[in-house]
Symmetry: C2
Subunit: 216 residues, 2 copies
């Protein structure tokens, strides 16, 4: 059933399914089931089936799913049957780690250009890539038609740099800066801020009060 519009939360789970399926294939596993996949991921089998049903019928009753086939399908759905070029902005510790991270190349993305505004860093090489000056962002991104940028810069500069990369044609931004960004409707933004994760978890830590032990 091609639905009018798939819930965003469903889309956000597909990469997680893909990740688990890839592990299965690497272990030589050819077939799986929604139950098994759900157990590995800590979610219900019904949810997995419902999620997949938005895009078609990929399983076989009584049997389950062919792992490789499902990977192919999910990759197509997510437009991962091509390689995406990514720009990294900022060559500090985070930009450095991102640029060298092998996990991108393995899963459809290639960091193909990195920028910094610090003259000390411009011209140096990270993972074989020369750090270019930030003033070149618009020119280079347009030339290479790069649509994805990762921001590894301080919060103070994040909005300004965002405006720049959007101007350069970027339509997806993954920001490591701890600040909410304003972008036009046609641009997607995701955030990675480890501190917000930690701060949510500490809510539950406290002094481990037993929630069941409340009087009455």
């Amino acid at each position: 059933m091609s639905d009018n519009s798939i819930p965003k939360i469903v889309i956000s789970r597909l990469p997680v399914y893909l990740r688990a399926l890839s592990r299965m294939i690497n272990k030589g596993q050819l077939v799986t089931s929604s139950h098994e996949l759900g157990k590995a991921l800590g979610i219900s089998s019904a949810q997995i089936r419902k999620d997949l049903s938005h895009f078609g019928e990929f399983g076989k009753q009584g049997t389950g799913y062919q792992v490789e086939f499902l990977i192919t399908q999910l990759s197509q759905i997510l437009n991962l049957d091509r390689e995406w070029e990514v720009a990294v902005i900022g060559s500090g510790d985070i930009g450095h780690a991102i640029t060298r991270y092998q996990g991108f190349a393995d899963r459809g993305f290639r960091v193909s250009v990195i920028f910094d505004s610090d003259p000390q860093k411009v011209g140096s090489y990270i993972n074989g890539l020369e750090v270019m000056h930030a003033s070149q962002i618009v020119k280079v991104l347009r030339e290479r038609n790069i649509q994805i940028a990762m921001l590894a810069i301080p919060a103070e500069y994040a909005q300004k740099v965002t405006d720049t990369v959007v101007d350069a044609g970027v339509r997806a931004i993954l920001s490591y800066a701890p600040i909410s960004l304003n972008v036009p409707d046609h641009v997607r933004v995701s955030y990675i801020d480890p501190v917000t994760h930690l701060q949510s978890m500490t809510y539950y830590l406290s002094t481990e009060q037993d929630l069941m032990s409340q009087p009455l």
Copy 2:
């Protein structure tokens, strides 16, 4: 109204509110409103008010919220009115970047110990911290009563190391390894996998087909 149990999704937004409020204070802003905060974060004012109403009445009708007061309240709710010690496992690029990241210290967390199993790295210093051997994890974490661990290790080792830190008493894990972890009920896990973010966004990129242009 103290509810029986606050939705997890509400808790996950509080750190984001806190982040925005901190920026306001730093700019000297003393008062804000749900409307203004929502605009800065791209969410509705009603949602912010509803979220906060789970914990009490922090605003004043007609006026809004005292920024500093709200920060204090949110910090208490999230148990951030203390400093949390964090252990980093893995001293590769990511572990390195995490350990040096200033953003933790500023927001309630202190990386106070780092481990690696590579003899080449054990004994070296990162940000003034000596890298300890992974075999010391249980001993050191128990001694210091550390309850939060960040995993910056390859996926293959992640489950084993998770079991180790859980054994050592850790109750919150932030994992950078691209794999879903199994933990006992009393342990919280958050994941940071930049690739899943990118893969969700590429769903929307495609060749920018206009969704309105479907025939019929």
